[in-house]
Symmetry: C2
Subunit: 150 residues, 2 copies
């Protein structure tokens, strides 16, 4: 087990007071709130369905980055997969057999979210599009690897 | 109607494509994720139940501030109260008869959250305690005024 995987498990242990269902609900809340903010950036910068408002896009990107950097790894424990919780979660047990890969995807996600926040602050819409795509790509990478179909 | 109240309603109109239930779920996700992060600061700085880790407290405070500044007013519309949605929400209809007050509480909340993020970055635990209390006070102010009992 590598350093990041060990750190992830240690972080998990520190949250032992949370019940598995609470961990699932809390991480789902984080993803749902990020999705709302991704949707705002998409509407304003990608699809052009809403007028571009730099302050709103920057606030949305800041929120995504802050949540991505909030230590969500602590909301993942081996007791919180589809194996134990059925359709309350879509987290495959495979996540915990591939902690190195999961950790790498998580770090890539944080880096992409930080980059999105950085370019959103600058207001360069071409750069925002690129960074938005990279964030979406890291979401998809985790989904493809570790999220169960519905 | 004052400028802030008008701005709140205009912002609400821009999110007209969201269904009332989606607005409720999304704002609840934001509050749940903030509560998780408030809990981490409480455990580390107020109750001392967990070792103080400046980076974690700063990340938690940053997340709370980013969510507070993310434009959650757009998730409030007059169709999303207990009157229409029963126990899916605790938002009293009175919120929309007191938009000036609601707006002021929202601005106070953002200011308190920004102050918490600022002192969390500095690592001054006494200042963090004070700012944490101010954030909690602004949460309570909204609950006392506009949240239905369960």
């Amino acid at each position: 087990m590598g350093a990041m995987a060990a750190a992830l498990l240690a972080s998990t242990a520190a949250q032992a007071q949370m019940k598995p269902e609470e961990m699932v609900e809390t991480r789902q809340a984080g993803y749902q709130f990020m999705a709302w903010n991704m949707g705002k950036i998409k509407a304003q910068v990608i699809d052009g369905k809403e007028a571009y408002d730099q302050a709103k896009v920057a606030a949305a990107a800041n929120t995504i980055a802050a949540i991505a950097n909030s230590g969500m790894g602590a909301l993942y424990s081996p007791e919180t997969t589809t194996e134990q919780l059925g359709n309350k979660t879509r987290l495959k047990p495979e996540f915990f057999q591939n902690l190195e890969k999961a950790g790498q995807i998580g770090r890539d996600f944080s880096a992409a979210a930080n980059q999105l926040a950085s370019v959103a602050a600058s207001g360069d819409q071409a750069a925002i599009k690129k960074a938005f795509g990279d964030v979406g790509g890291s979401c998809k990478s985790c989904h493809d690897n570790f999220r169960a179909e519905r």
